[in-house]
């Protein structure tokens, strides 16, 4: 079982959700985050004083999938979230130790 974390532009959330449901993902978690990448933000002015805008709002989507489905899911997210501009985001894949469905107590792949 793997967890796929994707950080994408907020306005791409709907496209990514559609693409994931088409690939067959059964559930996902979304959170609003802020961050920066290689650009490290830019300078703005407020009332004449300069300040750095570095933390940009993004959306993080977390999906848990079986090992076999990982590449399809990553491919789907990449296709849906790409705009070609700087700031499209990143996808992280991590291994999971265990999954439990709270209502029934099922464990492992059956709980995904």
């Amino acid at each position: 079982m793997k967890k796929v974390e994707a950080i994408v532009k907020p306005h791409k959330l709907d496209d990514v959700k559609t693409a994931l449901t088409q690939v067959g993902v059964q559930g996902l978690t979304v959170s609003e985050v802020r961050g920066f990448g290689r650009q490290k933000g830019h300078k703005e002015q407020y009332r004449g004083a300069e300040y750095t805008v570095d933390l940009v709002p993004k959306v993080k989507i977390e999906v848990v999938v079986g090992d076999g489905a990982v590449s399809a899911v990553v491919e789907a997210i990449t296709r849906a979230a790409r705009t070609g501009e700087i700031g499209d985001g990143k996808i992280f894949v991590t291994g999971l130790e265990g999954v439990t469905r709270i209502r029934t107590g099922e464990k492992g792949e059956a709980a995904i």
């Binding site: 802020r34 002015q45 407020y46 009332r47 004449g48 004083a49 300069e50 300040y51 750095t52 805008v53 933390l55």
Partner: protein, 608 residues
């Protein structure tokens, strides 16, 4: 008895804390005793002043005090407005009364120093008596005309009083505007506290003004002529004929229980509340609520009314025209100096002495940005203020029948527009930034503040120029205060109200064109005229008034600040942890945005 002494002695416990408590408690009691003593002493002292003839007020001379112990006859208060605006108040468009006034008792020889004065007075009296007797004879033959005159007089009073009350209500609504602007420009974690300060200053200031502020400011102002008020505002403390402070009218009692007095009280009270709410912006986000409340007690009672008396209450600044020939004395139509310059100077000293917000300045003195949390709130507040200003400025005529009001309104509107445009273009093209929304709002407010004094006295082009200069001035002063003086002013109160209040009061002395204002402050013969239209004396009077304002307000601000600090544990700031966490919970016990998670990263100042 023991518990009382123990309370004064600071209670038990840590000796250092005990000492502080003792100082605080005794100081509070001393101030209360002082206030009580003032209320008791001043009426006792001022009743001797009442009997001296007032030189600038046009009222029939009161009858000489009889040796028998009767109550001294004075102007009669009129709580129901029944006597207000009878036929004697009716006048034509040019201001000439239809009906001659009853001259009262004849002058007696023993009241005058020498024969010549007595004969002059007797001659003047005889002429008035003749006119009045002729009228009385004629009135017996034309009862309908008398009834018409009474009706017209009453209607005039009614229109004028409606004007005073409605414009006053518009100004009251400006409290909401100030609350929105200040809260929007501060951080979300301090929203409840900032709003609470702006909310509570309204009743605090008002009650202080009711208790004694109005008495100090208007106790000796004469009468409210535009609503036919009797001359009950007749308690003034003077030195050598220069009026300093009013002495009657505490709690609007006694002869102040009069409809015209109540109308003027309402009108002046909402202006006082406008001043009161200015320093809450400059000291926002780092002001203990207890300290703020004590400031609120001081602003309505002593800080605002004293200079207010000097300019509007018949005090010495307004007497400069009559006594020294300087134009019409200090003229401030709607309060650039009385309201805004006072507020700006208080804001300056309070912000300076309370210190900058944590994180505002780096070690090398360079300022950090602490962005506004709600720009829509700021702009909505600015529009509400601009709307309320349509009551603030034209209301100064105190007369719905004064058709110059249309010009006051248009001048106000034009100055607000040129102010906003000037600031936007200055920031955008000259200073090279983007058109900053919060600065735009400051620019509009700057234009409004600057036009407040001259609105009725200038033509439309001058109004545009005044707004234009104000718009540029506010930007430069914001930068100057933030970068050079290193004073943290979250909302730009010092720049908007202080510097433009000064520009406004001086612009009366420069750009007034003389078409209006004949008779203001007792000077007849020409309208209020500025330097560029030929009257240098007016400009001198404006400068003197401005100087008096800045000097007096600086002194009283520093004194009040230090006293309040002593009374609230030595400092008016909350602890550093409270300030960084957000003053909402610690000072007012609830969050402004409860249930909405505030991102900590967006809360702290962002540095270079």
């Amino acid at each position: 008895m023991r518990t009382v002494l123990r309370w004064f002695g600071g209670g038990d416990g840590d000796p250092a804390l005990q000492k502080k408590r003792m100082v605080r408690r005794s100081l509070g009691v001393w101030l209360m005793l002082l206030a009580l003593g003032w209320f008791w002493l001043i009426p006792k002292y001022s009743s001797a002043q009442d009997k001296k003839p007032e030189e600038t007020k046009a009222a029939a001379p009161a009858p000489a005090p009889a040796p028998a112990p009767q109550a001294p006859a004075g102007p009669k208060a009129d709580p129901n407005g029944g006597n207000t605006g009878d036929g004697s108040f009716a006048q034509d468009g040019g201001g000439t009364l239809f009906i001659p006034a009853d001259p009262g008792a004849a002058p007696e020889k023993k009241d005058f120093k020498d024969e010549k004065e007595y004969l002059d007075a007797k001659k003047a009296y005889d002429e008035k008596k003749k006119a009045f007797d002729e009228y009385t004879e004629q009135a017996k033959k034309e009862p309908l005309a008398v009834k018409l005159a009474n009706s017209v007089g009453h209607n005039r009073a009614g229109i004028n009083m409606t004007w005073i009350l409605i414009t006053g209500m518009l100004v009251m609504f400006m409290q909401a505007g100030f609350a929105l602007v200040e809260t929007g420009l501060c951080r979300a974690k301090n929203a409840a506290h900032t709003m609470a300060m702006n909310f509570l200053i309204y009743p605090l200031g008002m009650l202080g003004f009711y208790v004694c502020g109005f008495a100090f400011m208007f106790g000796g102002a004469g009468s409210v002529a535009t609503v036919g008020g009797p001359a009950v505002l007749d308690g003034m403390w003077s030195i050598n004929g220069w009026n300093i402070l009013g002495t009657k009218g505490y709690f609007l009692s006694g002869s102040f229980y009069d409809t015209s007095v109540f109308a003027i009280f309402f009108f002046q009270m909402v202006f006082m509340d406008t001043t009161a709410t200015i320093p809450t912006g400059a000291c926002a986000e780092r002001w203990k609520f207890s300290s703020f409340v004590l400031y609120g007690c001081a602003i309505g009672t002593i800080m605002y009314p004293i200079y207010g008396n000097w300019v509007w209450g018949g005090g010495w600044c307004s007497q400069l025209g009559v006594k020294l020939g300087l134009g019409h004395g200090t003229c401030d139509f709607a309060g650039s100096s009385v309201v805004h310059l006072q507020g700006g100077v208080i804001a300056f000293w309070f912000a300076k002495m309370i210190g900058p917000r944590i994180g505002k300045y780096n070690k090398d003195g360079s300022p950090n940005v602490i962005p506004a949390h709600n720009i829509p709130m700021v702009m909505l507040g600015t529009f509400i203020l601009a709307f309320g200003w349509f009551g603030f400025n034209p209301g100064g005529s105190l007369a719905g029948t004064d058709l110059r009001n249309a010009m006051s309104v248009v001048n106000t509107m034009l100055a607000s527009a040129t102010g906003a445009m000037a600031t936007t273009l200055w920031m955008w093209k000259v200073r090279g930034n983007k058109p900053d929304p919060s600065m735009m709002c400051n620019g509009m407010l700057a234009g409004l503040v600057a036009i407040t004094a001259p609105c009725a006295y200038v033509n439309s082009m001058s109004a545009c120029i005044i707004g234009l200069v104000a718009g540029i001035l506010v930007v430069e002063v914001v930068f100057f205060v933030e970068r050079k003086l290193k004073i943290d002013d979250p909302v730009g109160a010092i720049a908007v109200h202080g510097s433009n209040g000064l520009w406004g009061i001086l612009s009366v002395g420069l750009l007034s064109d003389g078409t209006y204002g004949d008779g203001v402050n007792g000077v007849s013969g020409k309208g209020v005229t500025g330097l560029f239209y030929g009257d240098a004396g007016q400009f001198a009077a404006q400068c003197i008034g401005a100087l008096a304002c800045i000097t007096y307000v600086s002194i009283i601000s520093i004194v009040v600040f230090k006293v309040v600090s002593a009374m609230t544990g030595g400092t008016q700031r909350p602890s550093a942890e409270v300030e960084v966490e957000g003053v909402d919970i610690a000072e007012v016990g609830c969050l402004g945005y409860c249930g909405i998670v505030m991102d900590k990263a967006s809360e702290s100042p962002v540095s270079k």
